[in-house]
Amino acid sequence: MKNAAPLELHVPEPPARPGEVPDFGWLKIPPAGSVARPDIATPPNEMRGHAYTLIRVLDEQGAASGPWDPKLDAETLRRGLRTMMLTRAYDERMFRAQRQGKTSFYMRCTGEEAIGVAQAMALDDRDMVFPTYRLQGLLIARGWPLIEMMNQVFSNTRDRLKGRQMPVLYASKEARFFSIAGNLATHLPEAVGWAMASAIKHDDRIAASWIGEGSTAEGDFHHALTFASVYRVPVVLNIVNNQYAISTFQRIAGGEESTFAARALGYGLPALRVDGNDFLAVYAATRWAADRARTNVGPTVIELVTYRASAHSTSDDPSKYRSAEEPGRWPLGDPIARLSGHLARLGEWSEERQARLASELDSEVLAIQREAESYGTLASGPHHRPATMFEDVFKEMPWHLRRQREEMGS
């Protein structure tokens, strides 16, 4: 059969470019509380719909409802709120420090704070996490000191990574927070490997990992899902769909014809698609998946639908490729405002407390920043000694590196 019309290449486009009016009508948003919560033992093929919907607990008025409501007490909710706000305060300060030329680079997670924070709280602190560069909320929620993080951002003398890594590529063994990779997606199958080891050793710790929706196109995403499925690995694989990969709208990553959660179905894995700006929904979905992993039922894929409210990084200028109005029209709101609204509705919070906390946190961050700067900044030093550059390439320094260190003359 010959085609009537000649072949055409379809190249997906975002709904709006600079100067155009953004419209998020394509994002189908079911009412909060309307999605069923299956038992964790439910066979994946009996819950495929969860890959195409959006699990939501908090409605537009800040009320929580439905089977996914984790029913957290106000204390826990306030802790979550505080951690999200701390994350944002930290981001703003570090962003400014970069703009002031104190360091080379920074990446904010503005608008995505519920993800790292709620998920850290839903996991066990002993679980191992393999995050991306936009999960500072996770590290903060695990209680890793901001001073350590700032020392890394400033590449100063107290930077545990010895000034070797670009800002934000944290690593902390104590916080069970894996070294963040510059090469996208590599860490996802590594997380699966870690969790395989945990299963081999009959441990009770699971692994969790995160990947941006843009990065799901890498082969390592497929390797992670394949291995997770084949060996029924105790791992939670999260896809953070913040709509963008630098300038590239998620449709170019495959978000036009399907959801990212749905990738899981082909491997026989269950998928949950979640309102990523709804702290309660994120918490509940993560808990569901963690329970599933921990009880040997198997891995889960979670797509967290959110919006990258700021630039990709300090090297990026979104006004070049997306409508300036877009962030304001994002229909799932801001995670901090939504949780704060919920607490207020419960009578457990107020605008005034919110404002006070924000300013307290900013002062706290600023004080820590001053301390961090006292140990040095990238721009003005001091840094680790140049000779340290030759350490840790290998456990023992071989002759050729010793010779090169001498050649450097330090």
Binding site: V11, S155, D220, S247, L378, P386, H400
Partner: protein, 337 residues
């Protein structure tokens, strides 16, 4: 003649080729509407349409594979790998198909693709935005490897690469996109407009693959280098006060062996300078070739000044980068013996 920086020259090369040859298509991550994170493909989508300049999923192997398939069809794809550090996921496509297709099909199928990628350090990119992986490609038979050092060459070489019927890895030293950086990171940035090589014809011209350029004639020692290091070598020679003959290799495979041998035959000494890590870097091949061809002319051991055999450390970038001081030291060493 228009003045162009490297980014503009590269853009112009693609523009010229897209206008001349409907089979030239350009794609990669953020390459379409946005025009690439270094803006090398700016305006091409608008001018040539979404099916000739477009964004891709983040999958370097998929990008290479798509390019190869298009090459087999008869197109001439020019793809961008956002940073040379991110070319590794595409290694199998590069080695096992791009480099081997002509051979394994005895010429029935070929992959006339160009793979552009920014390489090198000097922008505080840390270990995953600073690598110079050229040596790996030079070991893979079937690939050509090109690294320009100025706007004029960049455009002429890129046009040659696109017109070439073999796969070409085209590495762009990102530190010199905007100016001829000589390694003095503490001095003000000099823009390309003050450099003669920024005079770039607006239209079509080529710089042939496989030909080195002598950027400084000299009598005492031959410096073999390429990319950013060409400018650093010039500064280093000046600092050392040595009458060095500096060759900008421009193409590593095929290599301009004749120019190299003639120069070392004349000077009797050789310094090799590259930014990549030393062990098994392309400097090793150069050293091996020079001693094979010029053994009896050599008066001193060939010296290699290179990046250290460590990842590129973020904060210690300038201790890692083989700057003019180290080049000068190398020159003195090679002259002392």
């Amino acid at each position: 003649m228009p003045r162009m920086n490297m980014v503009q020259a590269l853009n112009s090369a693609m523009d010229v080729m897209m206008a001349r040859d409907e089979n030239v298509v350009v794609f990669g991550e953020d390459v379409g509407y946005f025009g690439g994170v270094f803006r090398c493909t700016e305006g091409l989508q608008k001018k040539y349409g979404r099916d000739r300049a477009f964004d891709t999923p983040i999958a370097e192997s998929g990008i290479l594979a798509a390019a190869i398939g298009m090459g087999v069809y008869g197109l001439r794809p020019v793809v961008e790998i956002q940073f040379a550090d991110y070319i590794y996921p595409a290694t199998d496509q590069l080695v096992s198909t791009a480099a081997r297709l002509r051979y394994r099909s005895a010429g029935a199928f070929t992959a006339p693709i160009t793979v552009r990628s920014p390489c090198g350090g000097g922008i505080f990119g840390g270990q995953t935005h600073s690598q110079s992986p050229e040596a790996i490609f030079t070991h893979v038979c079937g690939l050509k490897t090109v690294i320009p050092s100025n706007p004029y060459d960049a455009k002429g070489l890129l046009i040659s690469a696109i017109e070439d019927d073999d796969p070409v890895i085209f590495l762009e030293p990102k530190r010199i996109y905007n100016g001829p950086f000589d390694g003095h990171h503490d001095r003000p940035v000099i823009p390309w407009s003050e450099h003669p090589a920024s005079e770039v014809p607006a239209g079509h011209y080529t710089v042939s693959l496989g030909q080195a350029a002598c950027v400084r004639p000299g009598a005492e020692v031959t410096v073999l280098t390429y990319g950013t290091m060409v400018h650093v070598a010039l500064a280093g020679a000046e600092e050392a006060g040595v009458d060095a003959e500096i060759l900008d290799l421009r193409t590593l495979i095929p290599l301009d062996i004749e120019t190299i041998v003639a120069s070392v035959g004349k000077t009797g000494r050789c310094l090799i300078v590259h930014e990549a890590t030393r062990t098994s870097g392309f400097g090793a091949e150069l050293a091996a070739l020079v001693q094979e061809h010029c053994f009896y002319a050599l008066e001193a051991p060939i010296v290699r000044i290179t990046g250290w055999d460590t990842p590129y450390p973020h904060a210690l970038e300038w201790d890692y980068f083989p700057g003019p001081r180290r080049v000068a030291e190398g020159l003195k060493r090679v002259m002392a013996d």
